[in-house]
Symmetry: C2
Subunit: 132 residues, 2 copies
C-alpha cells in the first residue's frame, strides 16, 4: 500500500485508516478462507445465485466469520484451470475458522453447496504483507 502516498486529499486520509485497520487485523491473526469453484453444468444460474446467497448468509449466523465477497473469474492469463468462481471469507482467527468449519449452519450449507461443484479447492491463509 506504500504507493498510496501518491494520492491526494481525502483519498489519502481514508487509505491511512484502511492501513490502520489492516495492521490491527494482521495483529489479531485474521484468516482468509479462499474457495475456488466450478459449478456443474446441471446447476441452473438461479440455483447458483441461491447457493451464493446461502453462503453469504453464514456471515450473519457464525460470529467469527467477519466478511464474505465473491466474484466470477475474469482472468486473461489462461491459468484458471477451469475454475469459474472465487469465494473469499474473512475470519477473526484460526480458532474462529475452526469454529466455522464445525458450525451446524456451515455444515448444512456445505452439504447443499458442494454437490453442485464439479471442481473445488479450499485454502486458508494468514495474509502477510512483505516489507521490502
Amino acid at each position: 500500500m506504500n504507493k498510496q502516498v501518491r494520492w491526494q486529499g481525502e483519498r489519502l486520509r481514508v487509505s491511512l485508516y484502511h492501513r490502520v485497520e489492516w495492521k490491527r487485523e494482521e495483529g489479531k491473526g485474521v484468516v482468509k478462507h479462499v474457495l475456488l469453484a466450478k459449478f456443474k453444468d446441471s446447476t441452473p444460474p438461479d440455483q447458483i445465485e441461491e447457493l451464493i446467497k446461502s453462503y453469504a448468509n453464514l456471515v450473519s449466523l457464525i460470529p467469527p466469520m467477519k466478511a464474505f465477497h465473491w466474484g466470477k473469474d475474469v482472468s486473461i492469463e489462461n491459468m484458471h484451470q477451469g475454475f469459474t468462481h472465487v469465494f473469499e471469507s474473512t475470519f477473526e482467527s484460526v480458532e474462529g475458522m475452526a469454529e466455522y468449519v464445525s458450525h451446524p449452519a456451515h455444515v448444512e450449507a456445505a452439504n447443499r453447496f458442494l454437490p453442485h461443484l464439479e471442481k473445488v479447492i479450499v485454502l486458508d491463509y494468514k495474509p502477510t504483507a512483505v516489507h521490502l
Copy 2:
C-alpha cells in the same frame, strides 16, 4: 461487515472508514488476483523466500498494482489439493490488471517464479459483497 456494529468505540470508528474505503474500491472496479501455488520439492526455502520478495516488489514497479499479501495454507478441511501457498494482489481495475500482465517487470518475475511451481492456478475476480 454488518456485524461490526457489535464492536465498541474506536474499533467501530475505524471499521466504518474501512467500509468507506471498500465501497470506493468496489465502485472503481478493483480486481483481486489470486494465485495458488505448490513449489517444487527441489526449490529450497531460502529461494522460495527470495521469489516471494521479488513478487512483492512488483507493487513498487507496476503502478496499477496496489497491494500484495501472501500466506501458507493453514486449512483443516483437507480440500487444498496439495496447494501450499496463496498470493493475493489487488489491482485498481481490469485495465490495470491487463497492464500488469504485459508489464516487463511482471513478465520477468513470472519467468523466474513459474518454473519453481509444481502446481499453479490463477484467478482474477471483482470482489462483490452480497446484500441479503
